[in-house]
């Protein structure tokens, strides 16, 4: 949890370790990286050569001979073509490195998330995880090529210029370099303050976005409380602070940048002072050389500024890098033991058992204690009881979404943890409370149950759960796009598609969390017929909310506080007039009330029409 809530930039410490997975992926684009580094060196080389060329041109021009001037000018012009080519290469290569690294990182993170157990997602909001895969991956990958380029460019230019100057004239070279240590020192000092200001500004920007979001979400509540003024003054606190930090950042950089330029210019001035005498005295220093040195001196401001900027970038992105590294390093808590063996092919599962199982989500709140249960093939077990009693936990354990903290769950005597996860997953089918459909066609959504199913099998599955009727009534039948999350279908239709998907899979163990959401009676009757079809001939657990399901179950378990409070068939339990009696009465009243009060919902009315039409077709 702390990972989610820790402020994005609260800890900007520099750690190479967190960058390792990113750098490794970036470097794997060998050719692009090589092109990038070489282009950096070429560009730096040309930049070093240019002042020399200009110096040569000045000297030749002063001699006044066109003949000697021309080749130098041609060389000068052609060097630029090389320069432009270098620029083209490094941007193109940077594009390859940045986009491929981001792609690799995203896919690897995505694949890792598919492996992780459901508990991982319980404490991390979806939106938070989405930004890890989108903005974090783009941010860290986008920096990679520029850091590499600057590494080669800066090294090459610093080395190239320094060596050239010392070879040409060591005394002037020393004067040209006099400002560099001061520049470096200034950069280090200023960057520290600028990074701080930038971090605060980003923190405040996200706090302000949250405040705007809250203002919009709670607009009506704010109106009922008439608390507009209090809201505004709280917000003004944020915007005042934002104003302070962003201005501070701007002012800092408005001091830093001119200071660096001034230092570079000072180096030029110092050269004029020390060098002009040499030129006059004719001590082997030509005017061209002096001009070249003055340009070299100016050149040094750039690598210094550039490197300090990259350093700031790396620090700013290090929390993003850390989050990515930690996601990639997470080991799934539910995974195959090294020695798992798949049972004999087509093994028929006869029995599923809970054996003195303890479970908790948080150690101080036990959910199941010493829970035991036996379910055999062909049996439908309905779990009923009040919210928080542990019904959903039981089915999550039976499907190995979670594992018992103590005790064991076995199928035909073998502990679930000794079976391969992939094999076990093939044996189970789950119909969740809220049917989750994926953007795509109805057919694709049903096929999700068994990827190699033929179109015919898909339609047969839909017929079995009575979904075929409504599907063929859709505009494009099985090819109808269901929209994001299935939004273009009604709740009832989505449930039918989810049922068809589970039937197509034909699992040996089926777990169903019945929907509590209100659907009208006509839809309910249809869904019910589908449900019965799905449950037949398997080991089935149903977290039951509908009376019809409860009544037809082979065994009903009343779960209260993590234990089986009552157990038996519908009639046996009613005769006992205990907890089940109470639950049933409430449920009955709630069902009827719902039927009376919600039937007129515009949305469901439409569904009723389409479904009623369908059921008539069937008869």
């Amino acid at each position: 949890m702390s990972e989610v809530h820790a402020h994005d930039d609260s800890r900007a410490r520099f750690s190479l370790r967190v960058w390792q997975p990113i750098v490794t992926r970036a470097l794997s684009n060998h050719r692009a990286v090589a092109a990038l580094l070489i282009a950096g060196i070429i560009v730096a080389g040309i930049e070093t050569a240019l002042p020399l060329l200009v110096g040569r041109i000045v000297d030749e021009a002063r001699k006044g001979s066109d003949a000697e001037l021309l080749p130098v000018l041609i060389l000068y012009a052609s060097v630029f073509i090389g320069f432009a080519a270098g620029v083209w290469i490094f941007i193109a290569a940077a594009g390859i490195v940045a986009t491929r690294t981001a792609d690799r990182l995203r896919c690897d993170c995505f694949a890792k998330l598919q492996e992780l157990e459901p508990a991982y997602f319980d404490v991390r909001p979806t939106g938070w995880l989405v930004s890890r895969l989108t903005s974090d991956c783009s941010k860290v990958s986008g920096m990679m090529p520029w850091c590499m380029l600057d590494f080669s460019w800066c090294t090459a230019i610093v080395l190239g210029v320094t060596v050239t100057m010392f070879v040409t004239n060591a005394r002037l070279a020393l004067w040209a370099l006099c400002a560099v240590p001061v520049m470096t020192l200034l950069s280090v000092v200023f960057q520290r303050f600028m990074i701080r200001a930038g971090r605060e500004a980003r923190r405040l920007a996200s706090a302000m976005t949250a405040a705007y979001g809250e203002m919009l979400l709670g607009a009506r509540t704010t109106k009922t409380l008439a608390r507009e003024e209090a809201n505004l003054s709280e917000f003004q606190g944020l915007s005042r602070e934002m104003n302070f930090w962003s201005l501070r950042g701007a002012v800092l950089s408005s001091v830093y940048v001119p200071l660096i330029s001034m230092l570079a210019a000072s180096a030029g001035a110092v050269l004029l002072w020390r060098g002009a005498g040499d030129v006059l005295a004719g001590e082997g220093v030509t005017l061209g050389t002096l001009i070249a040195f003055m340009q070299f001196a100016a050149l040094f401001a750039q690598p210094v500024q550039e490197l300090s900027q990259r350093f700031a970038d790396i620090l700013n992105a290090s929390s993003a890098a850390e989050r990515i590294a930690s996601l990639l390093a997470t080991e799934p808590a539910i995974a195959d033991r090294p020695d798992v063996k798949a049972p004999r092919e087509l093994a028929r599962i006869e029995e599923l058992r809970f054996d003195a199982v303890d479970f908790w989500y948080r150690p101080d709140v036990p959910v199941l204690q010493q829970f035991s249960l036996r379910a055999t093939r062909g049996q439908t077990i309905a779990l009923v009881g009040s919210t928080g009693g542990g019904k959903t936990t039981i089915v999550s354990l039976a499907t190995r979404f979670y594992e018992p903290r103590a005790g064991r769950i076995t199928i035909d005597g073998v502990d679930l943890r000794d079976l391969p996860l992939s094999w076990f997953t093939e044996q189970i089918g789950i119909v969740p409370q809220v049917a989750h459909l994926f953007a795509g066609t109805v057919r694709e959504n049903i096929r999700y149950g068994r990827l190699d199913a033929s179109d015919e099998e898909i339609e047969r599955a839909a017929q079995r759960v009575k979904a075929h009727g409504f599907i063929t009534a859709l505009e494009k039948q099985y090819e109808t796009e269901v929209g994001e999350g299935g939004e273009r279908l009604s709740t009832g239709q989505r449930q039918l598609v989810a049922l068809a998907r589970a039937v197509l899979r034909d699992p040996q163990i089926l777990v169903m969390d019945e929907a509590t959401s209100s659907i009208d009676t006509a839809t309910e009757r249809l869904v019910q017929a589908g449900v019965e079809e799905v449950l037949r001939g398997r080991i089935a657990f149903v977290v039951a909310h509908r009376l019809s399901t409860i009544r037809s179950a082979d065994a009903i378990l009343v779960i209260e506080a993590g234990r089986i409070a009552e157990q038996g068939t519908h009639k046996e339990l009613l005769a006992r007039r205990g907890r089940y009696w109470e639950l049933y009465t409430n449920q009955f009243a709630a069902d009827r009330e719902r039927a009376l009060l919600h039937l007129k919902d515009a949305a469901t009315q439409q569904t009723v029409a389409s479904l009623v039409g369908e059921s008539q077709d069937d008869e």
């Binding site: 491929r100 520029w146 201005l247 408005s254 002009a276 006059l280 999700y448």
Partner: protein, 638 residues
């Protein structure tokens, strides 16, 4: 050559540029809006331009110093330009200078320093003003949007509003803070040296700017052309994000069906599509930057070659030549960016114009009658007396939601509202709170027409619990006293939470009343949220208490405790209770049974169960359940 600076710029647009949805407002609107937003800060911007001018001037004077020295000292003094000779004389004459070469060096440093100070001042002025405007705009948008009438808030998707409040203001800030000053800088950098260059040598001056128009045009056209590809990248990114979102929302389904490999393959496709759209932009950049580098260099080559030839012919002094070399490399790079800045500013201004659109919408208080005609309801203990007289309501262009409803509720009475969803129960509450205005009929409160009652006083005296209560991301205590002007005592808070049956749960939290709720804190269950919201309404000791299906997520036992506490309170408060459970309304003085905006039945519980109708049907469900059970049991016995 400032290549690295440009290079670092070249990767920025990849993430900085966010093309917005089709911009209906034009750049011109935006420009006008910016002019208005800048009210009070225009002088600061003018000062920034002056500072920029000064900075550019100093910057271009710097190379004049070595140029004069070169020409007078190393060339034939007589041939040096008048400007150079004057500069040398000003520095103390050639002879003195030979011994004091540190003096021109010092002048160069001083000039650079002056230019630096001017640049610093420009940022102080421009950034200071830009930040102040941004801050004012943030506050203004916040306040404006929270005061918009519900109709307006319903019309505009909240994602859209959020984007305007955040990224559009940021765009405005960037425009004022960097794009506008950069455009000025580029223009000044280009214009300021012209007279100096012309004074030195007009042929060279002309040669120095010959490529500038080509470059401006090339940049503007290139960035304009890239526009659609930026859009494509945005779309691909949005698609990929939707894929991730969908996968993570359905991660349990993915696991249940063991579809990790399938999902990976599908994600890889959309990730690759995004990669390609991004890579396309990089290819654009590679082409743009290398070509524009070539253009810049062509300019350089022209100056260098022409200058060299002229120097060789003896018609240009080396110093002047040096000056042109330096100056061209000073202005060519900002000029290269000018075309791009102009294209981007155009987009930015369109975004700014959209802020103006929102600000033009009327706030609730703009719709009120003038203060002299408004009635302020007094904060007494007496309940509010309410009267609805043939009140109808329909959303603009929508079906009738409430159809000629009339009823009267005396001070201190309780009204129960019952009916299927869509019956118009919530609409009654919304009209009372002035979220919407009735399309026909009139509502009176304590004898005053509601339209003339001060909105804030009506809301302040009402304690409302909405269907889906919203809690602020604050401490529980602050949530409960939110909306209270005076200091609320601890006792009052606890009394309210006890009546709302939430005190026990709160003190069980490790941080009790200091527990932060919401996104960054504890997630409360629906029932807990409802009860906190009830406490928040009760602590106000309102003259009117509204519970709009406020007990739907609490269990029956808690519901009856809360209702018991309410009736035990024996205040003179008027109450409106909307509920699906009849138990919550059966003690009301008046019960209205509504359906599709019409009144089906009215009366007390006793009256309503005596007659046939929806109310009695609902009431009898309880008995039906018992009958069903008895039948089942009889079957067992048989």
């Amino acid at each position: 050559m400032s290549e690295p600076e440009d290079r670092s710029n070249s990767n920025k647009p990849a993430d900085a540029q966010k093309p917005k949805s089709p911009p209906t407002p034009t750049t011109l609107h935006g420009l006008r809006a910016v002019w208005r937003f800048a009210d009070g800060e225009r002088r600061a911007f003018a000062a920034a331009v002056v500072a920029l001018f000064f900075a550019a001037g100093c910057l271009y004077l710097v190379p004049l110093v070595p140029q004069s020295i070169f020409d007078t000292m190393f060339g034939e003094t007589a041939k040096a330009s008048a400007l150079s000779r004057r500069i040398v004389e000003a520095l103390g004459g050639l002879d003195t200078l030979r011994d004091r070469l540190w003096l021109p060096a010092l002048v160069m440093i001083l000039l650079t320093a002056l230019s630096g100070v001017a640049i610093h001042l420009k940022t102080r002025f421009a950034a200071g003003a830009a930040e102040r405007i941004a801050r004012r705009m943030r506050d203004r948008m916040y306040d404006h949007v929270q005061r918009l009438p519900c109709d307006t808030l319903d019309e505009i998707p909240s994602g859209d509003l959020l984007q305007r409040c955040t990224s559009d203001i940021e765009t405005l800030r960037t425009f004022l803070n960097s794009q506008a000053p950069e455009i000025c800088r580029a223009l000044l950098m280009m214009l300021v040296p012209l007279p100096l260059m012309a004074a030195l040598d007009w042929r060279m001056a002309l040669a120095s700017v010959v490529c500038v128009p080509v470059m401006l045009l090339f940049t503007a056209v290139s960035f304009h052309r890239m526009g659609p590809d930026f859009g494509k990248k945005e779309t691909a990114e949005a698609r990929m994000t939707a894929k991730v979102q969908e996968n993570l929302t359905g991660i349990r389904t993915v696991r249940a069906f063991g579809r990790a490999a399938f999902e990976n393959a599908r994600f890889a496709e959309s990730s690759a599509a995004y990669r390609e759209s991004d890579a396309l932009l990089f290819r654009h950049y590679a082409r743009f930057w290398s070509t524009s580098d070539l253009l810049c260099f062509t300019q350089m080559v022209i100056v260098v070659s022409l200058g060299a030839v002229l120097v060789a012919r003896g018609s240009l002094e080396t110093g002047a030549y040096f000056y042109f070399l330096t100056v061209v490399s000073l202005f060519i790079w900002p000029v290269r960016m000018l075309g791009r800045m102009v294209v981007e500013s155009g987009k930015a201004l369109a975004a700014v114009a959209r802020l103006d659109e929102i600000l033009a919408k009327k706030e609730e208080r703009d719709l009120d009658p003038p203060a002299t005609e408004r009635v302020e309801l007094p904060a007494t203990e007496r309940g509010l007396a309410l009267r609805f007289d043939r009140v109808s309501f329909a959303y603009r262009g929508g079906p009738t939601v409430l159809d000629g409803l009339s009823f009267e509720l005396a001070a201190g009475q309780t009204l129960g509202l019952v009916g299927p969803s869509g019956a118009g129960k919530t609409t009654i509450v919304q009209l009372l709170l002035r979220f919407h205005e009735p399309t026909a009929g009139s509502i009176t409160v304590d004898g005053h027409p509601l339209a003339r009652v001060d909105r804030a006083s009506m809301r302040r005296l009402t304690g409302t619990v909405l269907q889906q209560p919203f809690l602020y991301s604050k401490k529980l205590r602050d949530n409960i006293v939110a909306g209270m002007n005076a200091v609320t005592t601890e006792d009052a808070v606890v009394a309210a939470t006890q009546s709302a049956c939430i005190h026990e749960s709160i003190v069980a939290f490790p941080e009790r009343y200091e527990t932060v709720v919401g996104e960054k804190g504890l997630t409360l269950s629906g029932g807990q949220r409802q009860r906190v919201a009830i406490a928040r309404a009760l602590v106000r000791a309102p003259r009117l208490l509204i519970l709009d299906d406020a007990l739907s997520a609490v269990d029956m036992h808690t519901e009856s405790s809360i209702l018991g506490a309410l009736s035990a309170a024996r205040t003179a408060q008027t109450r409106i209770i909307i509920s699906h459970r009849l138990s919550a309304v059966m003690d009301a003085d008046l019960i209205l049974v509504l359906d599709e905006g019409r009144l089906l039945q009215r009366g007390t519980h006793a009256e309503l169960i005596a007659v046939d109708g929806l109310y009695r049907t609902l009431w009898e469900i309880q008995h039906l359940a018992e009958r069903d059970l008895t039948e089942t049991l009889e079957e067992v016995d048989v």
